[in-house]
């Protein structure tokens, strides 16, 4: 069999809380710095310490970064999960394990290769403190992989130097552990393995960053001053990153005081209440949560929608319903986000698929919320938020100005003959608001969640109520042309068949498109970036006879929304679904589409 170069899935099986994450990230970064597109994914338990955790890395020089089934190389450091891990390796693959203790013979398959490295033994030879033995064991397997997979040791050493720049004393023992693993593998096995890596120049100016970190930077660059939040996986790291960046970037140089406020709320309801209070009072504010939090915020989201208060809500989706699979990914909150709260409500939603989009769209959420005086939801997911992704670099135009929307200042109020908070002066459904504290005698109004007239006065008149809610709909229609436009993946339509997807499904969908193309099946593709849908989305649905809606939930929520909002006949829309908590693969998509097409051909 010929060698396989730069195309593999390698999975690390570790114990949660043993410091493996840092070694595994070091591995991914080294691959990335060898110029190879890389896509690591954490498959972790809802636990602090002791349970099995996996880290799966796909390396593909062509840049296909969606999850791929079939593990080529498994690095097993956790005897708890050996049985399952051995079973997960593809036929012909490699099982690298800590041979400090022998494997149970009954577990062994004869169609894979076992490579035993006495990781713990080597670590004990070099280090005396148990915690160190534990931590350096991880570096030892990185060293062994460097030999087995033909990795650039200089690159790894440089990463170690950078990682311990603040604690240079730790550099030599890390080098020692790295060499120990490298030398052992080199002396014991024929290195490199037939499946291995070679340096390329295929990552351009891309960066390796977690979606949540990019989202946090989006809030900083987007001008958010108030963060109100309640901890929930997988959104919490946005706040951690926000606070960490804010401490560097948002300190008043003269006083050392903070140009931001981050409040840990008592629950998600309070977090949303704080955002509403802050934006009502003229600051840019946001909250971060996941599905259960969105459910709890429901009442407040309706208030913000009806009373027309800007809100930025970041929902990093996880597996639902209920507590569901808190550490697995899904796109199960599409309906919840789009129609959150009771009564007639619909909300602007943005769907990023890369960290660069997390950054850009988050900043844009603040402009949209201020412009349309309504909740705007960034709908991310665990896969995007909590995993490192190869992403285009983050960009900011220094000439960009915040769009604070329609707000009267004191001078404008002074000139004004009459002020009505909910008067549709410009006939676009968007009215002028005022911020408390602006003018001593003009512009005050009473914000309420009850029905009110154009002057913010309570009313029970059905006629006035209808006028108000119809104007809200008009505003929503206005928003269609202001939200990010969808991405089309062809210059002009070339097929009667189309695929539609959003968010992290994109990685697998684009790979699937190429796989089908190779089989002679041509489809057009559209990626939805926002709700409400604009005309391009509607046209795509009109122009294609058969559309595959690819999404990661059980109930085909995106399909329902397309049917509902664009009045597309259900018979035109076929679902390709994945909802087991793991990111969808290109193969799932290709198999699903092919199965449907062959059934169609037989009929």
């Amino acid at each position: 069999m010929s060698d396989i170069i730069n195309d593999m899935v390698i999975r690390f099986a570790n114990v949660n809380g043993t410091g493996s994450a840092s070694a595994n990230n070091m591995f991914s970064k080294a691959v990335f710095r060898m110029g190879l597109p890389v896509s690591p994914k954490n498959i972790f338990p809802s636990n602090i310490q002791g349970l099995p955790t996996w880290y799966e890395v796909r390396i593909n020089e062509h840049g296909y970064l969606g999850r791929r089934a079939g593990i080529d190389v498994l690095v097993a450091v956790n005897p708890q999960s050996y049985e399952k891990d051995i079973a997960s390796v593809r036929s012909g693959g490699y099982f690298i394990y800590d041979s400090s203790k022998p494997l149970h013979k009954q577990d062994l398959r004869d169609d894979i290769t076992y490579l035993g490295i006495p990781m713990m033994q080597l670590s004990m030879d070099f280090f005396s403190v148990p915690r160190q033995q534990q931590l350096f064991k991880n570096i030892i397997y990185v060293g062994a992989l460097a030999a087995l997979l033909n990795m650039d040791m200089d690159v790894i050493r440089q990463i170690i130097r950078e990682q311990f720049a603040a604690k240079p004393k730790l550099v030599p023992p890390n080098f020692q552990a790295l060499d120990a693993g490298y030398n052992y593998a080199n002396e014991t096995f024929s290195c490199p393995l037939p499946i291995h890596l070679e340096t390329r120049d295929n990552v351009g100016d891309h960066i390796l960053i977690e979606g949540n970190a990019a989202t946090a930077l989006g809030t900083i660059y987007g001008g958010a001053t108030v963060a109100a939040w309640y901890p929930i996986t997988p959104s919490t790291s946005i706040i951690k990153e926000f606070e960490s960046y804010a401490k560097q970037l948002r300190i008043d140089p003269e006083t050392g005081q903070k140009n931001y406020a981050s409040v840990q709320a008592e629950d998600e309801l309070a977090a949303m209440g704080m955002v509403i209070g802050a934006t009502w009072n003229g600051a840019r504010a946001f909250t971060t949560t996941s599905g259960p939090g969105v459910s709890l915020m429901g009442e407040f989201i309706g208030l913000a929608y009806f009373a027309e208060i800007p809100v930025v809500l970041i929902n990093v989706q996880r597996g639902g319903p209920s507590t569901g699979m808190p550490t697995r990914t899904q796109q199960g909150d599409l309906m919840t986000c789009i129609y959150a709260s009771h009564g007639d409500t619909k909300h602007i939603c943005l769907f990023p698929s890369t960290p660069a989009e997390c950054f850009e769209m988050t900043a844009e959420c603040f402009d949209l919320a201020d412009r349309f005086q309504t909740p705007v939801i960034l709908v991310s997911d665990l896969d995007l938020g909590m995993n490192y992704h190869m992403s285009p670099p983050l960009k900011w135009d220094d000439n960009r100005r915040y769009d604070l929307g329609k707000v009267y200042n004191a001078e404008e109020l002074e000139q004004l003959k009459e002020y009505g908070r909910y008067l549709d002066v410009d006939d676009d459904g968007i009215c002028y608001r005022t911020i408390p504290g602006t003018h001593p005698t003009k512009g005050s109004f009473f914000t309420r969640g009850t029905s009110r007239d154009e002057y913010a006065r309570y009313t029970e008149s059905g006629e006035v109520y209808v006028r108000v809610v119809d104007r809200l709909l008009k505003k929503w229609v206005t928003a269609q042309d202001h939200v990010p436009a969808p991405e089309l993946y062809q210059k002009e339509y070339r097929s009667s068949k189309g695929i539609v997807f959003l968010g992290t499904t994109t990685y697998a969908a684009l790979e699937a498109m190429d796989m089908m193309e190779a089989k002679g099946i041509s489809v057009d593709a559209i990626r939805i970036k926002a709700f409400p849908f604009n005309k391009t989305v509607a046209d795509f649905m009109e122009e294609h006879d058969e559309i595959f809606v690819i999404e990661q939930n059980r109930d085909a929520q995106l399909r329902t929304i397309i049917m509902n909002e664009l009045e597309i006949p259900p018979s035109k829309l076929t679902s390709i679904l994945n909802y087991d908590g793991m990111p969808i693969t290109a193969k799932t998509i290709v198999d699903g589409i092919q199965a449907h097409l062959s059934v169609g051909a037989e009929a």
Binding site: H206, P436, S444, R448
Partner: protein
């Protein structure tokens, strides 16, 4: 239904230092029941703001849901108001305060809004020492939904439509003391001479200021057998002190007899001048406040007045080290780190 008040004012009405008449601090005509205690509290707020020379636009009035929470429409028409959702006034006020630390935040809530649905937010606002005045218009019942008992209804108390309440009451004042609230007071809607200086002092206090105001519900809870009726409260009231609020620029003219007076100087230079009525009670000593409150309970009294104040209170912004500039005034130059910095971040991610 919207009632419009005539805006004509007699030119000879007395004005405050800002040139506003007291009527400039009024709001729309109340739609509450005639004789409702809440209207008297609204009157107290109007009086306090007029006398304190509050610029109406420098105060934000925020409420939850219920009869109490309707009242912000009935005072301070030139102030922004926010009638939010049930039990969530504290979080909305927290956010508003984070956005602009320079305004006065007047939170209006009721006993249902605070002691039941909003208990979580109430205690956490105290815990953070949010700089706000928190007035509970406490009538022991749910008026808008026709008189169900609330969580502050006393054991055995009876509303007009109801049976004797079988549950112990939640005492918001005792709870606030336990949670180390930095300003704790109770008053009675029928005692304006006490309520007005309390509101003024609360507005000057840097931190969380609770005024639990017993405010009889004339329709559902002013009957015989109720412990929140006008008659019952008048018969059982006991005040910690007679107090006067002296703003910073004024001289103290109130003179109490020696030994019974206690002046509490506030952060902004103003003074609360007290004539103590309760023995062994020191308003700046939480322990003595606790003991006094417990004794009143045992004696069947309703203890009113200033119960505790921490003159060294540090409000949330101080604890968080937020900039003195209101966050809602910061713009791109203060907030956006720019493209050069972003490129540095990109480089660190390669």
């Amino acid at each position: 239904m919207t009632y419009i008040k005539p805006t004509f004012r007699h030119p000879g009405l007395p004005k405050n230092a800002l040139g506003f008449a007291k009527s400039d601090y009024e709001g729309a005509i109340s739609t509450l029941c005639a004789g409702c205690g809440h209207d008297s509290i609204s009157g107290g707020i109007i009086q306090a703001c007029f006398e304190m020379n509050v610029e109406p636009h420098r105060l934000a009035k925020i409420s939850g849901i219920g009869c109490s929470s309707k009242t912000p429409t009935y005072f301070l028409r030139n102030s922004h108001g926010f009638n939010s959702v049930h039990g969530r006034m504290p979080s909305v006020t927290t956010g508003a305060n984070m956005a602009n630390r320079d305004l006065i935040y007047l939170g209006i809530s009721g006993d249902g809004d605070t002691a039941s649905i909003g208990m979580g937010q109430f205690v956490h606002a105290i815990r953070r020492n949010l700089n706000m005045v928190y007035i509970v218009m406490n009538n022991g019942c749910y008026g808008l939904t026709k008189g169900q008992d609330s969580a502050t209804a006393d054991l055995g108390s009876r509303t007009k439509p109801g049976k004797p309440n079988p549950f112990e009451a939640i005492d918001l004042v005792g709870m606030a003391l336990e949670l180390k609230a930095t300003f704790v007071a109770r008053s009675f809607s029928g005692d304006k001479t006490q309520l007005v200086p309390l509101i003024k002092a609360a507005m000057s206090h840097p931190g969380f200021a609770l005024i639990d105001v017993i405010s009889p519900c004339v329709t559902f809870n002013n009957n015989k057998g109720s412990t929140k009726s006008y008659d019952f409260v008048r018969d059982h009231i006991a005040a910690t002190s007679v107090l006067d609020f002296v703003p910073e620029q004024e001289e103290i003219t109130v003179e109490y007899e020696e030994g019974s007076s206690a002046d509490v100087a506030l952060h902004d230079g103003s003074v609360i001048a007290l004539r103590k009525l309760a023995p062994k009670w020191d308003p700046t000593d939480r322990y003595s406040a606790f003991l006094r409150l417990q004794k009143s309970k045992m004696d069947g009294e309703i203890l009113t007045g200033l119960i505790y104040i921490d003159p060294k209170s540090q409000e949330l912004h101080d604890l968080m080290n937020t900039t003195k500039r209101p966050l809602n005034t910061l713009r791109e130059d203060d907030l956006c780190p720019g493209s050069v910095k972003l490129e540095e971040i990109n480089v660190s991610m390669r």
